[in-house]
């Protein structure tokens, strides 16, 4: 199978698919330096003025700050709920296990628009005003599974004897958790948290239905900015900044999950 010829064929095809994956990204970065407001080819010329404009423009920065807050709160709640669920699955056999597993996974299998309109109907029914809080509730719902998957995978490989030894030495459950279990699942927690944070930060389908009038997250700001052709290169500048900021985060997540075997968990959304 790995004759020299097939090696070249697969190498070439893989190269083309990678080109397909990266051409749009390259264009985004290139047009962030656009001299004009028209995203036309050939490239109109270089300028860094959109980064200068972005630096002085409060709107995208406020939106980004709001997105950071939402991602932070959603991640915190998802960490607590997802970790607890993972412990229940790793340490207990109980009735309805499959059903709970299905309910945890469902928000990530079904498209965001379903979660969004379901919660929108829910909040309409309960008369809750749409705000930052409703967005956090929506995001948490699909972030739980990310933490759950990561922590459960780690717990399955962790021998129960460590915790038992700690209990035999007289530690309380909290102390065992604090000094024995937590250090061994710490990297899985960080990886799960990074994934939740990143997914929440870029989320649009759920957010669209749950954001109040003054809850303009960064993706909602970007969606609005597309309508105004004068700010297009500025949007590209925003996207380039996001990519540059998230690169170390990807590297961290990948590094933390390297011993998990199926590195695919990094995006098993």
């Amino acid at each position: 199978m790995t004759s020299a010829r097939s090696k070249w064929i697969f190498g070439g095809t893989a190269g083309l698919v990678f080109a397909f994956l990266y051409l749009p990204l390259a264009l985004i970065a290139l047009y962030a330096f656009n001299k004009t407001t028209v995203n036309a080819w050939p490239f109109p010329g270089f300028s860094t003025r959109w980064f200068t404009k972005l630096w002085h423009d409060p709107e995208p920065k406020d939106a980004a700050w709001l997105s950071v807050q939402i991602a932070f709160f959603s991640t915190c709640v998802a960490l607590a709920l997802g970790t607890a669920l993972a412990f229940a699955f790793a340490r207990f056999h109980f009735f309805g296990r499959e059903a709970v597993n299905f309910a945890v996974t469902l928000p990530i299998i079904l498209p965001g628009v379903i979660t969004g309109v379901a919660l929108a109907s829910f909040f309409l029914f309960t008369g809750t005003e749409l705000s930052l809080r409703t967005v956090v509730i929506g995001h948490t719902t699909f972030c739980i599974v990310l933490v759950f998957n990561n922590v459960l995978a780690r717990l399955r490989r962790l021998p129960l004897s460590y915790a038992e030894a700690s209990r035999d030495l007289g530690a309380t459950g909290l102390q065992t958790f604090r000094f024995v279990t937590l250090p061994s699942i710490r990297t899985a927690l960080v990886a799960g948290a990074l994934l939740s944070f990143a997914l929440s930060f870029d989320e649009i389908a759920v957010t669209f239905f749950l954001a109040g009038a003054d809850t303009t997250t960064l993706p909602l700001w970007i969606l609005g900015a597309f309508r105004n052709s004068r700010s297009l290169p500025e949007v590209n500048a925003v996207a380039t900044c996001i990519l540059i900021i998230s690169l170390p985060m990807i590297a961290t997540a990948a590094y933390l999950m390297r011993d998990e075997g199926a590195a695919g968990r990094i995006v098993e959304k």
Partner: protein, 313 residues
């Protein structure tokens, strides 16, 4: 190991205290059911209220009506939202439904075709020490704004875009063509692009697990490359293909951003639902469309999981 010793010393100190945490912990140690309830309760309650009850309310909303004048939701039962899908507006909604399923199927097949050779290269052809790097290279695009990645296709396919300029330079086109953007083909390409990593990763994971000996055995038994692919590699990759297809099909069925940005006027289910809950403000009908999407995905999930189960026998 230092950490363990240090922890041990602290533990001895903790045991002598008869504080509330200690008693709570002892109670939970003696009552595993209580421990389970404490671990399971909050998460299950959250998902029950904010997902399952919410889905149930979506179902109820689809069976309610909207007051024509005040646009307020009236809790009066009706099936008219569903009959409207099947007979309303000269079959417009059935066409929207058919178009969405067709696009989702095409995009899924496109992504399988693109992902398979790439995943094979990553898992079996490239030197193992490249693997992490190649893996990261597939993941990186997911971490930049999805909206901007979708919008980039306007820059590529637009009438003053990259593709048009290049085709004119080569001499294939004499003047810019508007045939590339604002149609269903543009939506399909954009979707295939944004969801591709979700197909590559599960196939890669499946292919990575195939033992070399299987391929050698196949060759020793006289099978050619094609037979080995058909009889050994593909069946073993099916779980990965199914996992990827579930993601791609489902994401495609629900997305409203790509149709809005590169799709021109062509309506799909995701966009229609979004409009009912947004500008058109017709929640009951939007809820009915969402239930239709949910039903379609349930059927799809059932079929694919059956196919997967059969393959693994």
């Amino acid at each position: 190991m230092d950490g363990y010793l240090g922890a041990g010393q602290r533990l001895i100190g903790g045991a002598s205290r008869r504080a509330l945490p200690w008693r709570a912990s002892r109670f939970l140690y003696a009552h595993p059911r209580g421990r389970l309830a404490l671990l399971l309760g909050p998460g299950v309650l959250w998902l029950l209220v904010f997902y399952l009850v919410a889905l149930f309310l979506l179902l109820l909303t689809s069976l309610w009506q909207q007051d024509v004048f005040t646009a307020e939701l009236v809790h009066r039962w009706t099936l008219s939202n569903y009959t409207k899908i099947f007979s309303g507006q000269d079959g417009l909604w059935l066409r929207v439904f058919g178009r969405t399923i067709l696009l989702a199927a095409i995009v899924t097949v496109m992504d399988i075709a693109l992902a398979f050779p790439l995943a094979w290269f990553m898992a079996r052809v490239a030197p193992p020490r490249w693997r992490t790097l190649l893996f990261l290279a597939v993941v990186v695009p997911l971490w930049s704004s999805i909206l901007v990645r979708i919008f980039a296709w306007r820059t590529i396919l637009g009438s003053s875009g990259v593709l048009n300029s290049m085709l004119q330079e080569i001499g294939i086109l004499s003047h810019p063509s508007s045939a590339f953007l604002y149609n269903e083909k543009a939506i399909a390409i954009t979707w295939a692009y944004v969801w591709l990593p979700f197909m590559v990763l599960p196939i890669f994971t499946a292919l990575e697990k195939i033992p070399d000996s299987y391929l050698e055995a196949s060759r020793d038994l006289g099978a050619g490359s094609w037979t080995t692919f058909k009889r050994v590699i593909f069946p073993l990759a099916v779980p990965g293909v199914i996992a990827g297809s579930i993601f791609v099909f489902s994401l495609t069925m629900g997305d409203f951003v790509a149709p809005q940005l590169v799709g021109g006027g062509s309506q799909v289910l995701g966009g229609a639902i979004k409009d009912r809950f947004g500008v058109a403000a017709d929640y009951p009908f939007g809820a009915a469309l969402a239930m239709l999407t949910l039903l379609t995905l349930t059927v799809f999930l059932t079929i694919t999981s059956r196919a997967g189960a059969k393959e693994s026998l």
